[in-house]
Symmetry: D2
């Protein structure tokens, strides 16, 4: 289980719906932004992973929505790698609404590593090394 990375996001107007809250599908964009931050925190980017010919598509997602998240709220997504298997990785997420102080959402995503031929691959050692990094030992990429 990896060290948690925290990513702050301000909720956009276009991310709300007529119920006055953030639309449930938009949390998945925030999860994705947090995954990008998780990589940067370990000194690499998801983009660089793709440039090496790897991709990490989402194969499963789960999310439980609790408290309210509204326009202009500042939320903090905590993300960590819960489990790393031979060819798959599970990220977990906890969202705190900093504007209200409430824990509001939790979730997970499962990803498989695929190569240039869109086939599942065993995670190669160089990529595994990135995933196992201690963020305290790497400079966060900006």
């Amino acid at each position: 289980m990896s060290i948690r990375t925290k990513e702050r996001i301000r909720v956009r107007y276009g991310e709300t719906d007529q119920m006055g809250h953030a639309y449930y599908g938009n949390y998945l964009l925030w999860f994705e932004q947090a995954r990008g931050a998780w990589c940067r925190d370990r000194g690499f980017t998801y983009k660089s992973l793709e440039e090496l010919g790897y991709k990490l598509p989402v194969v499963e997602v789960w999310s439980k929505y609790r408290g309210e998240v509204k326009y202009d709220d500042l939320i903090e997504v905590e993300i960590w790698a819960e489990e790393i298997r031979r060819a798959a990785i599970q990220f977990r997420y906890e969202i705190t609404n900093l504007t209200t102080g409430q824990k509001t959402t939790e979730g997970y995503t499962w990803h498989v590593l695929i190569g240039s031929e869109s086939k599942a691959l065993s995670i190669p050692p160089e990529v595994r090394e990135w995933m196992d990094r201690n963020p305290d030992e790497f400079e966060t990429l900006r």
Copy 2:
């Protein structure tokens, strides 16, 4: 378990991402569109439910992504109410990519019924009657 409603959707360009497939968050918009169709198939609209002062926010979502869904593909979302509890309802979804013939995605959403004061309510008989309707006995609203 309710009778299935089927909703066809053509994948938009803006729903893809640079991986060349539909972005995982956009499936949740398709699930929502299918919920609207499920209501219409039973002779009411989700909109009319809100006009009566009720809302059915999503409190949990799960989805498993299998085959490929690409731009311009025609998908069919099958939706049914798997379980209706005192104050909650679970919809289940199965997506078939009609362009490729593949079953591609399954998922569920849990919803709670809330009233005008944003508190969970027992589903009132009039709403329960709507949910229990046999679509064959009602004209689909267009």
Copy 3:
């Protein structure tokens, strides 16, 4: 100026915002869906254009928002090619909200044709022939 193609779209919940109307950015997805329908109406698909190595990225957009467009409203986007230049094409759009009967939105997009090397190209005769087609003489692709 080409014959108009009409495309009907039901407004999704996730396309609204907390003001209770469709978010202004989502109209651009509807414009895009209408462009796809414009191609299909002429017996080809935008997808097939990309498969031939061509792309038609948007280089300019303008839109004026008038009446209201709300959740579950059925809108009709009318689209036509206003102008076709050597390497560019302008589509124009008019949206009518069929639920309210109001003309609500007009707009245009300019596109340039680019090839596999991302450089602007003169529209080749085969593509120009597609664009100039009379939809009455072609079966609409489904």
Copy 4:
């Protein structure tokens, strides 16, 4: 013409499309985020404006897309109020892709001020005072 406010945004994966660039509709979300920043830079929030019973819906948008904007690129949106009329305000935008160094996009949006009854209002003095503020004299809200 107001002093410019600058807002930095990291492009999300879900904001790209299969062409490999940011989808044209998503720029409108970035414009909106920049408007929020413009307010914060002047010591108020757009949210607080709505809490006072005012809204500033977009009635017109224009944008010209030039250079490339890709996943993970860091962009900077410069925004300023180009013109403030009795009941309307025009914001202008210039986007620089900091990752490539290119100026990539310009645009404008026109907004009208409406009150609780959804009618256009003359901008009241208190709101006008907010809009005319010199950001150097106010602490940016975080």
